[in-house]
Assembly symmetry: C2
């Protein structure tokens, strides 16, 4: 069972054929050894998707469709974990799962630093292709918590309480492993319990995003 | 905010003092520079937990308590992903989240191989300590799906249907990226939808385990 290759090609698409990046070209020709005329799908990462054909060095466009943004939006605002492998897992897994935006948080006790933006974007683009999505995860920050709308926040916490059964999206806040400083969390923020275990930043981000997506009905859209 | 070190020391505990492995000793003395007399917690990974003190080269036991096994049990049976980083991620994250057992699956189209057992066990033990748990995740396999009780299976699938709102534990089955062969999934197995995205093995394992733990009430125990 082999999937048709799914390509992220940023828009706007104007000509009847789309040119391929060197990386795409190498992947399609040398790694996948795709024959000219083979079917591919493509997306602009902004809700549009097309069925086209590989034409050696470009894509011939075929039938295309656009979608409205996913609703409700699910955002993750996370302190960066400390190692490159864990940073990459956060970006890649949240992008695969369909999180809409990832915001790196600046916190008092945080020790990690966000990856370079072009690196993080490349991870998110690869995850979009891998997962055959049509919405590219946005990446922003670093910003302090005070710059986010506090009424939409869900702060992940180590606590044994069931989450609400239905949630209308929002921004999941993942603190650094050393925790938040006193007063750092806005009073209006709600709490999302992720059980009694102490989770690493990337584990809390992925598990918390899964709970928030599922409770918001986003896994059944 | 510094956590008291939490140590996995396998039982049965008989003497009033527990001796430390070389790795523990190095970590406590050289990395954490723990002073003699400093408090630690310890677990046998089988439901017991104690509050004790670091005594230079061993642990003095203090108050101890035991717990009944978590209920309902949540098991993940997964095809091994293909790279070492992703294998490690599966073991580490499932152990952190509190999955009870991980069974490596032998499948027709699977391309990955399970990690060596002593390596996988070391990852699970480190995750137990990190997450301050008291139940060490068991690791088994590889076995084919036919060796598992088919009435307890939940097969993760790419589908946009809401999961049942309450689940009584069970075994989450994660296929290889190439999918299952015809007839490989027992007819009695139930399906657990994880949304319309194509997820990598490790992403499906972690997100699926989160959904199964949450729907089984295990995140609120």
């Amino acid at each position: 069972m082999r999937h048709v290759p799914h390509l992220y090609i940023s828009g706007p698409w104007e000509a009847p054929e789309l040119s391929l990046s060197d990386a795409h070209l190498r992947h399609l020709s040398s790694v996948l050894r795709l024959a000219a005329g083979a079917p591919v799908t493509y997306t602009d990462g902004a809700g549009s998707r097309g069925d086209g054909w590989f034409r050696g060095d470009r894509i011939e466009r075929g039938e295309e469709s656009g979608s409205a943004p996913m609703s409700p939006q699910v955002v993750v605002a996370s302190a960066p974990p400390r190692t490159s492998a864990r940073l990459r897992f956060v970006v890649e897994k949240l992008a695969e799962l369909g999180v809409d935006r990832l915001i790196w948080l600046q916190t008092r006790f945080g020790e990690g630093r966000p990856p370079r933006m072009n690196k993080a974007t490349a991870w998110a683009e690869a995850a979009l292709e891998q997962s055959r999505g049509i919405w590219l995860m946005g990446i922003e920050g670093p910003v302090p918590l005070t710059q986010l709308d506090s009424s939409t926040l869900w702060v992940a916490e180590r606590e044994s309480k069931p989450p609400p059964s239905v949630v209308n999206g929002g921004t999941l806040v993942i603190g650094p492993e050393a925790g938040f400083a006193e007063g750092e969390i806005p009073a209006a923020a709600r709490r999302l319990s992720l059980g009694s275990r102490v989770l690493r930043v990337e584990t809390a981000a992925i598990a918390g995003a899964t709970v928030l997506l599922e409770k918001s009905g986003r896994l059944s859209q």
